[in-house]
């Protein structure tokens, strides 16, 4: 197991180097880069002494963009290996600083969503599978299909219209209520933030339960029709135990793979939802950085996501081996 993990991690490192190169290339060739924008801005200032092209050359040297694609990448890689990711151009802070300021807001959002998703989708899926072709099966199927099909911005807008505009239960956007937040106790502050998380959490949960529910249902149906479930029934095992012990252990195997792989989604933020609800999470920061052509921060953030994806796959494989005795890692 250890040997396997080390081997996988080494492979992952090689994959990572190429992934990062592709990302760097994309950022590098993106039109309207941060440096260009900055150059035009400086050149159009009243009393500007240099033209935009001159500013551009100056700034390129300053930001290390004059070395060309390949050299630029290896310079970045060299410092990244040492753990230096440089300063974010847009936020005027070190990349790690921006990251640690923002990540926990996104983590909280995604963790709560994921827990809700698991708690709602898996029991619903099992129920639908047990009562196949019943009213509740069709209802959950239709409901989940509707949920999957709706775009994020639509659900968010409807929720805002109903709960923020009409009922006035929640604020339209933002993380805190600026009028009262400072006067609240610590616990009050927490509740205030939690209140602003309700609509974003509902939005993401509604969108994500559908697929997990359908996945659970399909797997459960397959397991329930298998011979060993019939054997369990023939042994006289009570129906509850057949479902929750014999069948669920087998349904869990593919589910673990899915959930292990979604480790990355805990940290990746929710770009659209955060933007819509004005949450200052990592998704929003990365979106704004990308639009601004902020190479150091985007590189740092995407590297983080790539590492998480690779580690997530490894974790999923390890979980798979732990859940299914037939799988041997070698």
């Amino acid at each position: 197991m250890l040997k396997y993990s080390i081997k996988r991690l080494l492979y992952s490192a090689i994959i990572l180097i190429f992934v990062m190169f592709i990302i760097y290339t994309l950022m590098y060739i993106m039109p309207g880069s941060y440096v260009e924008q900055k150059a035009y801005e400086l050149a159009s200032k009243p009393g500007a002494t240099k033209s935009a092209t001159e500013w551009l050359q100056d700034l390129k040297r300053q930001y290390g963009m004059d070395k060309g694609l390949i050299m630029g990448y290896f310079t970045w890689l060299g410092s990244a290996v040492k753990g230096e990711f440089g300063d974010s151009w847009k936020w005027q802070l070190s990349c790690t600083q921006v990251f640690s300021n923002r990540i926990w807001y996104s983590f909280a959002l995604n963790a709560v969503t994921m827990i809700l998703e698991i708690l709602i989708a898996i029991p619903l899926g099992i129920h639908a599978a047990r009562k196949q072709y019943s009213f509740s099966d069709y209802f959950t199927t239709v409901f989940s299909m509707v949920c999957i099909s709706m775009p994020t911005f639509f659900i968010a807008t409807v929720l805002k219209l109903v709960f923020a505009v009409k009922l006035k239960w929640f604020d339209l956007t933002g993380m805190i209520d600026p009028r009262i937040h400072d006067s609240l106790s610590d616990f009050g502050k927490f509740l205030d933030v939690a209140k602003h998380y309700v609509l974003p959490v509902i939005t993401i949960t509604v969108i994500s339960i559908g697929s997990l529910m359908r996945y659970t249902r399909t797997n459960m149906l397959e397991v329930l029709n298998s011979d060993y479930i019939r054997t369990a029934r023939a042994k006289g095992v009570p129906e509850r135990k057949v479902i929750y012990s014999h069948a669920f252990r087998n349904t869990l195997i593919p589910l673990i793979t899915i959930l292990g792989g979604s480790l990355v989604s805990l940290f990746s933020g929710a770009i659209i939802t955060e933007q819509l609800f004005g949450l200052t999470g990592i998704g929003q920061a990365s979106y704004q950085s990308m639009v601004a052509g902020d190479i150091p921060f985007t590189m740092f953030y995407l590297m983080f996501i790539s590492v998480l994806t690779l580690v997530g796959n490894l974790v999923a494989d390890l979980c798979y081996a732990a859940a299914d005795p037939r799988v041997r890692l070698s």
């Binding site: 019939r230 029934r233 023939a234 006289g236 009570p238 087998n250």
Partner: protein
């Protein structure tokens, strides 16, 4: 599942050319809706009736006709309410399983052998599959018996694995892949003997593993099913089936999925165990050789009905029904050289739309004038030998006609 097998059969069966009815391979949208509505209505009603019967011990406690039988099938009708119509998988079968004997049930694929056994275990996939008529009586001693058809699920869970147990035909998939062998055998012992301590349960499990001929019992106890071969897994399934010393063991084609040498070993094992334990075996197979070697009594099924039953001697040496005679002719015999093995012409009628005359008439080489009448009754031609064929109408004693259930009346 059995249901799917039935469906597959239906779709494969070619339409008889002389039939003037519309082709059943194609169902119009209106017919399909009508069938679905009818099925929903009937199954709902049957489920309601069952729920009512489950509450009333008078309806599920009964008496055996003969105390020396372990199980009596009395005119059992098991129907599947499928989207293409009602499939009469088992339609009025009657036979007994006497104590400490082996009853072989033979017949071709899709003739209702497995459905009969699943009806006995109440393992049919409801609400599609329903026992709509007849009684299955299970002897529990002191003159009492359960009528399995109406027995509630809680009682059924006590009986399964304890009084009736089953060995399935697919050992490769019949054990749960994520649990250790020890756990799976322990489970059934623990369920039916709640007083036993864990040590006693384990001791019993090891004893069972030894009984089914597993040499490395301690090792196998902590192994997973995928670490064992097919033959070993079938031994484990047999151990699970025997663990609580049931009155009857249903072996549903226990050797079909195994290669020939392992088949021989498993059959030897069953044969030896039969003498050691006081259980009856209901051996379902389409291998006549297996039946000849093991069974005391033989039941021959065709298209959901019993067409002939008797002792092994009766069936193998004096087969009476043309179908049985055909079967005997079609099996290869060592030392006898033939160019081509005999085969019975034609195919089984469509189970959705059975004829009202003898089901075998259109394939029968010996049919007579009476065969154009209704389905033949059971005719007793010796003390032990019963056959459903008009050829014996004059000489034998007529016992009665199989009672079918009219689904429209349900």
């Amino acid at each position: 599942m059995a249901k799917n097998d039935e469906l597959k059969k239906t779709s494969q069966i070619p339409e008889e050319p002389e039939k003037k009815k519309k082709k059943s391979a194609y169902i119009s949208g209106r017919d399909s809706r009508r069938i679905t509505r009818f099925n929903r209505k009937v199954t709902k009603k049957l489920e309601k009736q069952r729920a009512a019967a489950n509450k009333n011990p008078d309806l599920y406690m009964t008496r055996m006709r003969d105390q020396n039988n372990v199980v009596e099938f009395d005119n059992v009708c098991t129907y599947f309410f499928t989207d293409i119509g009602t499939v009469k998988a088992v339609d009025g079968i009657s036979f007994d399983v006497p104590k400490c004997s082996t009853v072989g049930v033979v017949g071709e694929s899709g003739c209702g052998k497995s459905v009969t056994s699943l009806s006995l275990m109440q393992l049919l996939q409801r609400p599609t599959g329903q026992v709509v008529g007849g009684e299955i009586r299970l002897n529990i001693g002191n003159g009492q018996a359960y009528n399995i058809v109406n027995t509630p699920m809680e009682k059924m869970q006590e009986l399964r694995g304890n009084s009736i147990s089953m060995i399935f035909q697919e050992p490769m998939t019949s054990l749960n892949p994520v649990f250790r062998i020890g756990f799976q055998v322990d489970e059934v012992i623990k369920l039916h003997n709640p007083d036993m301590t864990d040590e006693e349960v384990k001791a019993r499990t090891l004893e069972m593993l030894e009984l089914v001929g597993i040499a490395n019992k301690e090792g196998v106890y902590s192994m997973y099913p995928h670490e064992l071969s097919g033959g070993m897994r079938q031994r484990i399934c047999i151990a699970i089936a025997l663990a609580c010393s049931p009155g009857i063991i249903i072996a549903d084609e226990p050797t079909t999925a195994l290669d020939v040498t392992i088949q021989a070993q498993i059959l030897d094992l069953l044969q030896n165990l039969k003498d050691k334990i006081n259980s009856s075996i209901m051996l379902i197979t389409h291998d006549l050789g297996v039946v000849a070697g093991m069974a005391d009594y033989v039941v021959v099924m065709y298209a959901g009905r019993v067409i002939e039953k008797g002792t092994a001697e009766d069936i193998f040496h004096h087969p009476a029904h043309p179908y049985t005679i055909g079967l005997m002719k079609s099996k290869p015999v060592v030392g006898k050289k033939v160019d081509e093995l005999y085969n019975i012409p034609g195919a089984v009628p469509n189970p959705v739309d059975m004829p009202n005359y003898c089901y075998f008439r259109d394939r029968c080489e010996m049919h007579c004038d009476m065969c154009h009448g209704k389905y033949p009754p059971e005719i007793k031609i010796s003390d032990t030998h019963i056959v459903s064929c008009y050829r014996y109408y004059e000489e034998g004693q007529i016992l009665g006609y199989p009672k079918t259930v009219n689904v429209e009346d349900l």
